[in-house]
Amino acid sequence: MQVTMTVNGTEYTREIEGRMLLVHFLRDVLGLTGTHWGCDTSNCGVCVVWLDGEPVKSCTVLAAMAGGHEVRTVEGLANGAELDPIQEGFRQCHGLQCGFCTPGMLMTCRALLDKNPDPTEGEIREAISGQICRCTGYSSIIRSVRWAAVHEASKEEATAQ
């Protein structure tokens, strides 16, 4: 079957099998390997991408289901050479070690900040509770998200003045 979807602002049309999962479409068909594939059972969250602006676990969404919809992956976060504040936060506060969970974490945390620009530690923990990091113990991830929140707030203040 043919599927057409917009990924990070670019429209792609490809011939696929109905059973193909979105995570495989992104990685194997489009070559966007930033989205990782781990547990395959909706538990670890390394495959999180946005579907129409909401984080979803792309190992449990058919590529066909995303047809006609908008997908955003970690490759679509940075603005050219300029990192998104959430990426910069992970960099500044050691939010990653091996980096395996990082793309999914970034997508979920970006969505959180879009909805709630000033999340508490508890709210950040709740938002990423469907995601597993084997390296950081989560504390530095939480610090990274806080960094991004504070940074964005001060940037907005600066542009408002």
Binding site: G18, V48, M65, T108, E126, G130
Partner: protein, 289 residues
């Protein structure tokens, strides 16, 4: 990856029913896909056709309140149930339950209809709907609709009253002209996991007395179970710790848990007792406030 199948997309409820009629038992609806796709990946289920009903969210994604009932469309997603102030105002049991279902990202996809139709005995929303005495609206060919109770809806584990050419479109929750309180509590092994045992309670009060009360349990029998004996024991009485204790004891002896990796049957009976007391207590507090 699941075994091969043909993908079809429905654009309206009636068109979905048309597809189901044409394709028969070789086809299955897919809503959020968070129960069905994992089962298909594990080869626990195989279908020749999957009919995607996500485009029906416009038609079947809603929470509507009237004086005598709350109607919720089958495609309403977990997140929408959790975030609805209207629903929390009438039946806070939904928000209690949603907070402990899976995780926020899974809740962006999973739907009320998919949850009930999956008919897993540990399903939290089935326990909630049982507690609230919900009716299920099922539509078939020619626009024919029938309404069944939760007891009729769940025929057995993973089996519902929805026929191959039908679709669940709506859940209706009756409202009564009394003060109402409801609550949900669950014991799980880790955050967002399926219940070891969970309980929902709803209590209706008039002049300080219980006019009606219902308890629904998940994971302690072939279906999520409502316990009529508890309702009978509570009606007409003033709420008290002794009464909650009595209800808990009835819950523990009326359920039918099995010993498995989540715990022994005895432990689960103990949880049914304790969670019944806790949710009844909270439900009464909420009805009074």
């Amino acid at each position: 990856m699941p075994a091969p199948f043909e993908y079809e997309r429905a654009t309206s409820v009636d068109q979905a029913i048309g597809l189901l009629e044409r394709l028969g038992s070789s086809a299955r609806l897919v809503a959020g896909g968070h129960s069905l796709l994992p089962m298909m990946k594990l080869r626990l289920a195989n279908f020749e056709y999957l009919i995607d009903i996500n485009d029906l969210h416009g038609e079947l994604g809603y929470i509507r309140l009237s004086d005598d009932e709350v109607r919720i469309g089958a495609m309403t997603r977990h997140r929408e149930l959790l975030e609805s102030d209207v629903l929390a105002g009438v039946f806070p049991i939904f928000a209690d339950a949603e907070r402990v279902i899976a995780d926020p990202v899974v809740r962006n996809r999973g739907t009320l209809g998919g949850s009930l139709c999956q008919a897993d005995p540990s399903e939290d929303l089935s326990a909630v709907c049982t507690t609230l005495d919900a009716s299920c609206v099922i539509r078939g060919p020619g626009g024919a609709e029938r309404v069944v109770t939760m007891e009729e809806f769940h025929v057995g584990p993973y089996e519902t009253a929805v026929a191959d050419n039908e679709i669940l479109i709506e859940i209706r929750l009756p409202r009564k002209n009394f003060k109402v309180g409801s609550a949900y509590a669950k014991v799980e092994r880790r955050a967002g996991d399926w219940a070891v045992v969970s309980a929902g309670a709803a209590v209706w009060l008039d002049a300080g007395r219980i006019v009606d009360a219902r308890v629904g349990l998940a994971a302690v029998g072939p279906n999520t179970t409502g316990i009529p004996e508890i309702s009978a024991a509570l009606r007409g009485h003033e709420p008290s710790e002794e009464l909650y204790q009595l209800a808990g004891a009835i819950a523990a002896r009326s359920c039918d848990p099995v010993t498995d990796t989540r715990g022994s049957a005895d432990y689960k009976r103990h949880l049914a007792d304790e969670l019944t007391r806790r949710t009844l207590r909270t439900a009464v507090e909420r009805a009074r406030s």
